[in-house]
Subunit: 209 residues, 2 copies
Amino acid sequence: MPERSTKDRILNAAETLFALNGASGASLRAITQRAKVNLAAVHYHFGSKDRLLEAVLARRLLPLNAERIRCLEACQKEAGRKKVRLENVIEAMVGPALRLSRDENKGGRIFMRLLGRLVLEPDARVQRLLTGQFETVLKKFKPALTAALPHLEHKVFFWRLHFLVGSMAHTMADSERIQLISGGVCDPNDTEGTIECLVTFLCGGLRAK
Amino acid sequence: MPERSTKDRILNAAETLFALNGASGASLRAITQRAKVNLAAVHYHFGSKDRLLEAVLARRLLPLNAERIRCLEACQKEAGRKKVRLENVIEAMVGPALRLSRDENKGGRIFMRLLGRLVLEPDARVQRLLTGQFETVLKKFKPALTAALPHLEHKVFFWRLHFLVGSMAHTMADSERIQLISGGVCDPNDTEGTIECLVTFLCGGLRAK
DNA sequence: GTTTGTTTCAAACGTACGTTTGAATCAATT
DNA sequence: AATTGATTCAAACGTACGTTTGAAACAAAC
């Protein structure tokens, strides 16, 4: 987290406090205090608390989804004429997200917890932003998914996609409860192990009859 | 929702507004106004805003978990000496929750959205309550699950349980996005269809190799 | 060294919050 | 009808909030 500019300092502090206390639970006074910045700086640089939240989201979401699409296209190119394996498609979907959620240099766990919270936030602006982002990704992934799962009827396909999102979001957002309930057996810091385990689970579920 | 007493009216209004706006986003003024009750009534009947939230949770969670355990024991009794099928164990786990989340008389979607939000709430008192509840259920279900999934090593078992919770929570909490992304093909009001679809997916994932 | 535009600052604005208070109202008992 | 205890009520308490303001500090160009 390079904390050079006032803007960056505000974004980092806001990301953390939004994630910990929710959008309405985090005050600008707490954020600016944490960022070691004057209270009015938020309005100078971002205009309002709402637009600060948007900026926090955009900073992480845009690169994440770009990376997802890059991964998908890479494994499509590698497969050439052959069918892309379901495992590879799913890995392109959840891999970048989990790697981001474990990379403390890029917001890491904190940002993912925020994302998990915002999925249930009814604020219209937030929902428009999130749904818009998700649809972009889904549009790219849908052909590859249906090709790898030809036997699934439309309805079941969408439901299973929904379940997938749930597992993924929960895994990204919550890295404490898994340690608690497993008695420390599971290590959420083993990112690649977690991804592999999740991909196996999801492919099993998606292929189920 | 029988709205006889002041207490019940407060609980119902609080459940709705906590779910919609978050714990800190819902004000007592909005809650009491919705409940058509005096502002001071909250403190008279519950003591504080925090304790109101606790009461909202306890009212739904205790019966839900009792019902889960009842279902599990019923299908264990029915199986007798034979092994209980994984499908039946999973159904006992997610069925009652989804039925509750679709039963408007018992809080329904609203309560489940609240639950989804609170899973990520770092407030210590809330976490203690939720984790305590979850552990009670897990303790009952773990033997049945390991018996139905003997080939799974410890670590993978817990991870998959974690993924299961994610799918379930997401499905319970969010009944709008599935309609949006499926273009209306999926109907979250078809409770039993949703449960069947989810159970199939989860069993596929849990059994995956 | 003055000017210009950008960024920071302390202070204040009005509003909404959770909570407290003490009197008014109500229902049941004597 | 009077008394009691539980409940409701309007009003106010102090605090914290998002936002605005206008001056100070700073940096770059002339």
